[in-house]
Symmetry: C2
Subunit: 300 residues, 2 copies
């Protein structure tokens, strides 16, 4: 198990704090007569998680030569999409969960109707944020348009929602390897990939760097998921500090079931190596390499 | 009761057909392994309704000197938003409806989980459509960005979703006039207003025309809703050909309850006159005036 160096732990925490502040700014409570749904949106979007997706946006912007502040609205937008997907996934008609990140799910606190609207509100608010004058002022019209388009593509039917559809279709049955890879690539991979891509795009990186960031994210996302499944088999039930949107109920230990633990270990090592190799398109990548290793060797 | 002239009826039908074709294009079934959710999206988005919101986009684009084809992706985007809001509104945790436009609701056909994802998918797809290369090629980057931003604002917490929140908070109780006006202005008015505004923006209309279109839509939207409530009192239960997203269950006859039928009639007349007066900022407005009158004097 590799832990983040103190310096990198501090950088991750600094990113998470900045994202938290900005999320609160984009989800203001003041002066609203119909506060309850916004309270529910804030309940689910604020105060939790490592903000890995948002941190990837900011860090890839930084190593592509851009300013972290320019990328912040896009870090917030992707965290809003992530938060909405968790609210809707937890609803009784989906996974019917009670707890999320150690606290009661949105619908347990606010009721189903409000939770449904809060999810819709966060999904919509992600695009309001990505398209806001504030965001466009920081990155310019052309990049704002491209960033918003990439986000919409990754979050939608051809991305995250598509992955949820496959998951729904299998409903607990173990799919074959190709289908499982596709499910994971869409359901959790699409948002991680677009986070890394958006960081590059916000900074005006060239195409080769965007492709390299995409490769890093795709490999790391899959390695992370396999590690997640392995932890489940090892019996270390994970609830706190859970960073990536893994399905708690079904398909949790599907990689070990399909491949066996030994092959899983080898796959994680291979994928992590390939992820970090893709970073050679950038310089100053120590934080990302360290973070990748910490994620795929974590014990909970 | 005023009926649309044959010429105008044909124009409305032609708009609806063109929107239907383009919606089908933006919601393709081919080559997808997780088809069921896309089938549910198409079930709810295609084959129904007068496409009033989409028609407003196209007609305001036309009278602002733009091409109907340029505005089409935005007509589709707003119809997707409308369709998603109906799917989620009909869910058991919201209105728990069985029928929509005379056919079973999405969740009655596909189940709740698929209907939830189909709604999310359509909301997301609206932005994918508005931000697509196809759309941007037709209107240019600056207008595409503004159109998408306006759509996001109108559909979100400060627009339609905000109206749903107020509705939820009142849960069948009759609000006071100011609150009811605000509820209607957001829940159904915001999308009608942005439809008219987007038509103008797609054509590059000047600010005064955008404001005039907004006024037309705001007044007409309220008049339509009051007429809707009056029809409910008159006992003409409306299900077929229902064009505007009125709540079937609660608050349906709230304007007559608050104002009495006589005042309702006077309000509809006043609002319609003010709506049509706003059209003086444009020429060639016979279709819109005729459509407005037909909507507010309809008998079902």
């Amino acid at each position: 198990m590799q832990v983040l160096s103190m310096k990198h732990k501090e950088r991750l925490a600094a990113y998470a704090n900045r994202i938290e502040e900005e999320l609160s700014h984009f989800l203001p409570l003041e002066g609203l007569p119909q506060q309850e749904v916004m309270e529910a949106m804030r309940y689910s979007a604020l105060g939790g998680g490592k903000r890995l997706r948002g941190a990837f946006v900011l860090e890839f912007c930084r190593i592509s030569g851009g300013s972290v502040e320019a990328a912040l609205p896009y870090a917030c937008a992707i965290e809003m999409i992530h938060a909405y997907s968790l609210i809707h996934d937890d609803l009784p008609c989906m996974d019917d969960d009670e707890l999320r990140r150690g606290k009661p799910c949105c619908h347990k606190v606010y009721g189903e109707a409000t939770a449904l609207l809060a999810g819709d509100g966060l999904l919509n608010r992600a695009f309001e944020t990505a398209l806001s004058e504030e965001a466009v002022d920081r990155v310019g019209e052309a990049r704002a348009l491209r960033l918003s388009r990439e986000l919409a593509g990754a979050a939608g039917y051809y991305g995250m929602i598509g992955g949820q559809c496959i998951d729904l279709a299998y409903d607990g049955r173990v799919p074959d390897r190709a289908t499982l890879d596709r499910l994971i690539a869409l359901k959790t991979g699409a948002l991680i990939r677009v986070a890394c891509r958006m960081g590059c795009i916000a900074a005006g990186a060239e195409a080769a760097q965007i492709t390299a960031a995409d490769t890093f994210a795709a490999k790391l996302g899959q390695a992370f998921q396999i590690r997640d499944d392995m932890l489940d088999v090892e019996g270390d039930t994970v609830t706190l500090g859970k960073a990536v949107h893994a399905d708690e109920k079904q398909g949790k230990s599907t990689y070990p079931a399909l491949l066996g633990m030994e092959t899983c270990r080898a796959e994680v090592a291979r994928l992590t190596e390939e992820a970090n190799a893709a970073l050679s398109a950038f310089s100053d990548t120590a934080f990302l390499e360290d973070l990748a290793l910490a994620l795929v060797t974590r014990m909970n």
